[in-house]
């Protein structure tokens, strides 16, 4: 999926609370955004999310995931149904949708425990590529 602007337009029809995440191909949640809007039943919110994120290990491709949404809200990503867009995005970045849905579910579970917006704990700490990078940098000191 070649994209000129490397971002996706998010349109949300209907007021309430929406939490979106950006996960990489392994299902690691890198960014969370919560949008809450109210005032009228026919409100529409527009947001943009990047499809690439710079990390300490280099730039990685990411996909938006829906962590939670209010009842009745309809979400479109670049004009497509959110689930359809995420499926296509997973194919283009060679990710397994189950990994992304797991990341969304873990994030939602953490929020349900009354912790507010928070990223899921990463078992085992940093991924191996990052550990190697950090280890090399600490050995240089």
């Amino acid at each position: 999926m070649a994209r000129a602007n490397e971002s996706v337009e998010v349109l949300v029809h209907g007021p309430g609370e929406l939490v979106l995440g950006l996960a990489d191909r392994s299902g690691r949640m890198l960014l969370l955004r919560r949008i809450v809007f109210s005032g009228h039943e026919k409100l529409v919110a527009r947001s943009h999310l990047p499809l690439k994120v710079a990390t300490v290990g280099g730039t990685v491709e990411v996909s938006p995931v829906v962590v939670s949404q209010s009842r009745g809200q309809v979400i479109h990503l670049d004009g497509s149904d959110a689930a359809k867009f995420i499926q296509q995005r997973c194919r283009s970045m060679r990710a397994r949708p189950t990994d992304l849905y797991r990341a969304a579910r873990e994030t939602a579970d953490g929020m349900r425990e009354g912790n507010g917006l928070r990223l899921p704990a990463r078992p085992g700490g940093l991924p191996s590529s990052m550990r190697a990078k950090r280890g090399a940098s600490s050995r240089r000191k």
Partner: protein
């Protein structure tokens, strides 16, 4: 009889420690208006909490942002016509006839602060309109 309409918007952003850039925030919420009435923008306001704290930077000042860019737009049947208002503003605007919709936008820039930073920032904003 005058009708008051409201748009409330809150956006919060949190990033993982492995992320080395701050994604920009640019959110807008739209509502429909009655074009047969005269619309006045009564109030626009926003507030930010949190921000970015960086250990090292590339020439960009870091710290807690004190305000977000806040804008209200009125839309008309003529797509070329648009009225813009910037917040915070607590004084009613002039009345505009024929507005079919309004949008409340908040924005904060994105940047690359350096290898180590912490990000947790949020913007709350609202706008009130009166239709008479």
């Amino acid at each position: 009889m005058a009708t008051t309409r409201m748009i409330q918007l809150y956006v919060e952003q949190l990033s993982d420690v492995l992320v080395s850039e701050v994604a920009n925030l640019n959110e807008e919420v739209f509502t429909f208006l009655d074009p047969d009435k005269t619309t006045t923008v009564v109030e626009i306001t926003s507030e930010t909490i949190g921000g970015v704290i960086a250990k090292s930077s590339t020439g960009i000042p870091m710290g807690i942002s004190d305000n977000a860019f806040t804008r209200v737009r009125l839309f008309f049947h003529d797509a070329k016509r648009e009225e813009e208002f910037f917040g915070p503003s607590h004084i009613p605007s002039p009345g505009f006839a024929g507005a079919i919709g309004a949008g409340l936008q908040v924005a904060e820039v994105g940047y690359t602060p350096g290898p180590q930073y912490a990000l947790a920032r949020a913007i709350g904003a609202h706008a009130y309109f009166e239709e008479a």
